[in-house]
Every structure is written in C-alpha cells, then in structure tokens.
Symmetry: C2
Subunit: 442 residues, 2 copies
C-alpha cells in the first residue's frame, strides 16, 4: 500500500481551508486592483540559472532543483528549479516582454513559492506570496502607495495592530561607514543585524565578534539599532551620531511624510536595525509586524539593479510581499474569519426513494440550479432517513424529496432541516420558494 502523507513541509487544503484561503486572497486582490496593480503569473518552474546567484548563498541552498529528463536523467544533473520568490521572475518578465509592457508597470502576483527550509510552525516548503511591485519610477510615491495598499488590505482583513518598519540599505551602509566598519564586512554585519529579533543584542554582539567587527563599533551599532520605533527624525539618529544628512535618510523622511492621509498613516516607523535578508535590495526596505507573531507578515523594498541583470539596462523597481500563510495563521488564532465562511457544499440536496426515479431527481436538480441554487443530488437510493442524515451532517439546509406521489403530481416535497418543517411545491416553483427562505435567513 502506498504512503498517503503529503510530501514533507507541504499541505493538503480541504474545502474549509480553501474557502479561508480564497476569502483572504479575494480581499487582497481587490485592494491591490484598487491601487492600479495588474495581475501577472509566471511558471512554477524556472531555468535554474535564472534563480542561482539572486538570493545569496543561503538562498541557493534552499532552491528545489529539477532533474534533467530523458537520457540526461542518469547524469543526476539539474537544469530547472522551482520558483523561490515572485520578484526574480518579475525581473525576468520585465526584460523578456519589455516591448509589450508599459513604461510604468505596476503588477500584483499571488502564487506559491517553494523553499527547502526546515519545516516549523507557520513555516512550510510550499507557501503563497501576495506581491505588489512597481517598475519604472524612483519616486517615494511608489513606496508610499505600496505601504498604503498593504495597510488597506490588512485593515479590510480586520488587522488593527500592525506596524510597518522602515529602513534603507544605503542608510545602513552610511551607519556602518560612520562607525569605521570596513566595507568588506558590511554584508556580513547586515546578516548579523538581521538576526537581532531572533537572538537579541548579546547574540548579535557575539556574531559581530565572530565576523571580526571591532567591539566598539558593535556597541555603537547596537546603540543605534535599539533606538527603534518611537520618535522619528533627526533627533533619534543625531543622538547616536549617525549620518542623518545622508540622502537615504531624507528618502525615509519623505516616505514617512507622504503616508499622511493614506491608510498607512501612523503605521510606518523608522527602525535602523531592519536589514532584510535578500541581497538584491538597494534602497528603502520595509517589514510588517503584528505583536503576536515572531516573524513578519510581509516585507519588501527597492531593488533598482535586479531587472538590469536580465535586461542589461537598469529599471528602477520597488516591491512588497504579504505572506499568505502567516496571515492565515494569525487570523485563525484570533478568530478573524467571518462565521458564514465554512459554508456547506450545497443549498439543497435532492433525495429519491427508488433508483428508477433518478431521472426525476436529475431534472428537478436542473430546475433548482436554473433558479440559482447550489444542488447536490444524492446518487444512491439509500433509505430516506440515511439520505436526510447525510444532508444534515453536511449542513445542507434543505432536502427535496421525490416519492411516487410527488412524481405523478409533478411536485416535490421540500424539508427544511433546521426548521424541521416541510412543504410540497409544484416542481417549477420549488426553487423560488427555497431562495425566499434562504434570503430571509440572511
């Protein structure tokens, strides 16, 4: 007998799961479209070389690689890989389809990605990302519109306690430079800083030491990075002697100012310790958090050089990704799904007393569907009690029963299970009658 588990770190979504996922995706999509983002989809499978070298060394290790086919299979070599994020494929698309795409291109993309990470609570090997990206402009309006769109989506889902942390890659560089940390150690320092939330200040200090960053520079850095959130502006950074005059700092101030009057107002706070793991960011970087989740609900930033790796010509770009799985985890724990969501498979089940009456069941079902109802035909002529019990167990509110009397009279008996009432209707009138009761119940 074959094993029946899904692959490690992967999940089956039963009907109730799918309905919850579609509810969340539906809201996110509607909000993204309200901001002028257009839908894009890319293949699950990319050429391996498209992905390699875009996500840093750790990323390369987590890419699922696909074996060559046919006579080459025995070589054990891979030439394809599973999509690792939605940003690199977008950069590839922008280069490949440039002539068909507008100069300013805003797209959203809601698709799964795959990473061979160690599975853990809320961390899966197949997970959906909900990305917005804008290509073709360097204006901070781009970052602000994305913060606004994400805030509006989260607000519509019922989140009221999220924060968007904001930092800037060039500001981080300027800070590291001002503390005389050699340029060769910057990437290494960022990787350590990125762990502040997970391993705390002492842990990061240890990482600094291990990476050869001088002790006093480490102290200076941590002093800056712990001054997160709260008041924003020159005060915060001036205190720590950081380069508040750097253009990157002005860019962050512009972003913060522009959020006023948008749904992101009051949500964005400057966090000098935010680093973001991915290597392709070049400007503002952002991350969304809620208090009861250790990781982030989403994140993003500006990456002005990635498209150039495929096109040979730079195109400014900025994007933001919401993590669907984490949103679902928090919404589930907080009970944020609307009660009517776990819906039943049908509004009406059609039951028959005798197998020979199946033609009547099918034509009554066709009529009820034409009236706009979702109808399940019970396929077997089981005892009527068993059939009704099935409808009840599935939460189907109505059972349409066809016995000999009904069939010869052209009628149907409709049992309302919750109300424990029943009425007999002309077959042509039953649909409207059931709809009426459904509407009254809301």
């Amino acid at each position: 007998m074959a094993r029946s588990e899904p692959a490690r770190g992967m999940r089956d979504f039963l009907p109730e799961d799918v309905r919850r996922r579609e509810y969340v995706i539906g809201i996110i999509k509607r909000v993204y479209e309200r901001y002028g983002f257009e839908p894009l989809e890319t293949p699950a499978v990319e050429n391996l070389e498209t992905l390699l070298g875009k996500y840093g060394e750790e990323g390369n290790q987590l890419i699922f690689k696909i074996l060559k086919r046919g006579e080459h299979e025995a070589s054990g070599q891979a030439d394809l890989a599973l999509r690792y994020d939605l940003t690199v494929p977008l950069a590839r698309v922008m280069a490949h389809h440039q002539s068909k795409l507008p100069r300013l291109f805003k797209r959203y993309q809601i698709q799964p990605v795959w990473r061979a990470d160690r599975p853990a609570r809320g961390r899966f090997r197949e997970f959906y990302q909900c990305d917005v990206d804008a290509l073709g402009s360097t204006s901070p309006v781009v970052e602000v519109e994305q913060c606004a769109a994400l805030s509006e989506a989260l607000l519509e889902l019922g989140f009221n306690d999220f924060t968007i942390r904001l930092n800037h890659r060039q500001f981080l560089t300027a800070v590291l430079h001002s503390l005389s940390i050699p340029h060769a150690l910057h990437a290494s320092a960022l990787v350590a800083i990125d762990k502040l939330d997970k391993i705390g200040a002492e842990g990061v200090k240890g990482e600094f030491a291990a990476r050869g960053i001088p002790g006093d520079a480490a102290d200076g850095l941590l002093k800056i990075f712990q001054l997160r959130g709260g008041a924003v502006g020159a005060g915060l950074v001036g205190d720590a002697d950081a380069p508040a005059g750097d253009p990157s700092f002005q860019n962050m101030i512009a972003i913060l100012d522009l959020t006023k009057g948008t749904p992101a107002e009051g949500r964005v706070t400057l966090d000098p310790s935010l680093a973001r793991g991915l290597s392709y960011y070049t400007g503002a970087i952002m991350e969304i958090n809620v208090p009861d989740l250790a990781g982030s609900l989403g994140g993003g930033g500006r990456y002005d050089n990635l498209v150039g790796m495929f096109l040979g010509q730079s195109i400014p770009a900025c994007g933001f990704s919401l993590g669907l799985e984490r949103i679902l985890v928090v919404m589930g724990e907080r009970g944020m799904f609307p009660p009517g969501l776990a819906s039943t498979p049908a509004d009406v089940m059609v039951a028959v007393f005798d197998a020979k009456d199946a033609p009547h069941a099918l034509s009554v079902a066709a009529r009820l569907r034409q009236a706009g109802l979702r109808v399940l035909v019970y396929p077997d002529a089981d005892k009527i009690g068993k059939q009704i019990k099935y409808a009840d167990s599935r939460g189907i509110p109505f059972v349409a029963i066809l016995g000999g009397d009904e069939i010869s009279a052209g009628t149907v008996t409709v049992k309302h299970l919750a109300g424990n009432t029943q009425n007999t209707y002309d077959q042509s009138a039953a649909g409207a009658a059931i709809l009426e009761v459904l509407k009254r119940r809301g």
Copy 2:
C-alpha cells in the same frame, strides 16, 4: 547578462492573459459549485513514490523529478516530483484525510500540473486542469451529474458544438474477448486503439500487426470502432457481433438515458473506439471534443481501485477533467471572450504638476478609492502632457489633475479622455461624479 526566457514549454501570463484565464476559471468554478462540488487543493510537489506506477510506463517518463537536497544533492537522486494530474493526489488525500471527509465526497480542483512532454501548439509543460470527482458511489447518477456540470460550464462559456464521447473499459474488454484477442494483448490493443484519431484505421491495423494481434480480429475491431457516434443501442453493437448483453453496455445505456432533462442531453454519444490513455480507469470513460480541435477539451472516467492503492480499501470513484489551456486556445481563435475583458489598470489616474504636491495626489487618490474607484497615482512630476499620454495609452478613461489652483481651492479637475471634456469638482465629490459617468457608459 542572464537569459530572460521562461523555461521550455512554460509560459508567462501578462495581465491580459491572466484576466482571460480568470474569466474562464470563474465560470467553471461557479458551475462546479452549483453541482455541489467542494474546493480542494493539493501541493505542487508530491513524494515521487506517490506518482510512480500510476500513469503507465509512458507517464512515468514524463514526470518532473526533484533532486534530493543538502548532502544528498550530489547523489543525483530524486525523492520528490511535480504533480502530474489531479486524480492521484485526490486518491492520496482521500486515504490520508478519510476521517475528516464525508462518506460521499464531491470535490473540484483547479490547479496546474506538469508533464515533460515535447512542447507543441496548445501543448505545454505547465498546464491547468479543472477537475470534478465524486467518491463513494457506484451509481451512474455520478457520471451523469459530471457530464451535466461540464456541459453547463461549456455552454456558459459559449460552446455550442461539443460532443461527449462515451465508452466503458469493461465493454472494451468484452469486445476484445469476443474477438478472441488474448487477454495478455488487451492493454497493448487499447494503446493502439487510443491512436485511431491520430493515425487512422490503417495506422491502427499496422500497430495491431506489430503487437501480434491477428488480422481478422483487427478487422472486426475496426469495424466496431468506426461505427461511432450516430445511433446508439443494441443495433450498432449487434451488427458487429459485439457483446451488447455485457453489464458495461447496460451501464452506458443507463448513463445515456439519465442525461435527458440535464444540460448534457443530446451531447453524449457512444464511441466504442474511445480508449483513454491512463491505466487507472475501470468503468465508464468519456472525452469531450469540438470540431475545430484535434485533441480533446477534457475527459475522464470511473476508477474504482485507485483510492485503494493508498487506503487498502476500495472506494468507488469517478472524475472528469476540463483542460483549461485548450479551452482558452479555442475561445481565443473563435473570439469568444467578452469585449470588456481586456480591462484597463485603473478607472482614474491622478496627475500632479509638481513633486511637492504629491501629498495632495495621494490623499485625493485615497478619497477616490473610498468611493469605489480603481486609482493609479502617476508617481513622477513629468510634464502634464506626458502624464495624460500615459493614461491614454493604458486605456485609463479619466485623469484627475491637481495644479496649484485646485490644491488651494480643495478641488480637482477631472479630464474625460474619450469624451475630451473636463470638469472641476470639489475633492469630496469627484469620486461620485466619475462613477456616474462610468455607469452611464455601462
């Protein structure tokens, strides 16, 4: 510079493509739900052993296999694979989650599958299937409801010329047996018969000869198989001395009779030559065709033993799959998409004369969105003519312009590009005014 093509046989879907796909998927989904099917999703990646041995020898060759990770990567071995169809994962799900699923389970599943086939016109290596399956009943009502659901979906998409060909695996066996073809050659004969459409009667005769099937048996078979379509019943089969008394033949007649009064009425024709490639079918088999497509739009059948391979206990099952890509190809060629579908990225574009006015653009955009409009904010303070030209090139019908006068007066000038008219509104009234014009245009 990195290559920018998608992987071989895979496609990028630009916004217009996605909208067409979502239009078709939306209709199919709505119809499936009307028939009481519930949504299910399974991972793109399955354990390799889950898929091996389920699709026949040719199928095994076409499975995309995923390399082991980490220290095992160098071994060149595969342990995972990409989903090859939606039926085997359903059988696995039915076994794994049996306690959570109802005794009679009707599910639909609309997801991509991957096959390492040689790419050709309309044949891709990543393609979507739209499946319905019902588990737990042997009644022909199951087959009929599926034919009805698929017919209703195709009719709502605008297809009026499709046919559902019907045959039965056990009937094929009975026919082969009646012609004294040895049992050991049956599987081989079915593979040859399945090619009748592609290689014609002479080609199939050649295949029979190559497979050691006696010449007179081949002639008898072809005589039966060319009598397809048209009149149904004992006449057709009796003429050719085939076993019309076989229960499988009665099952087909029952299915045909029950389609009366459903949307499948008049669509189903018996075709004794239909074989279907996949090895897991055990009963009725079906295929949908339209005149202007060489392959099929979809197909399916009964597979009563597949779930048992995972569960150790048989569960009767029957399913039908619509091929999304082929539906899209035919709809594109026939011009069947509604004209309004290739929609614009937004209803309104907000333009500004000066970068310092961006805060006003963002807050006007927020107001227009609250009114229910899809709004794109032009991010840069380009010359106003360039901004309007962009809106026009994207088909955005309205441009909301904010100059110094408007900002100090709290107004906004709204230009209707198609009408070449413009009006100035209070910022709080602009949304309603634009919606009014959009509604009038339909």
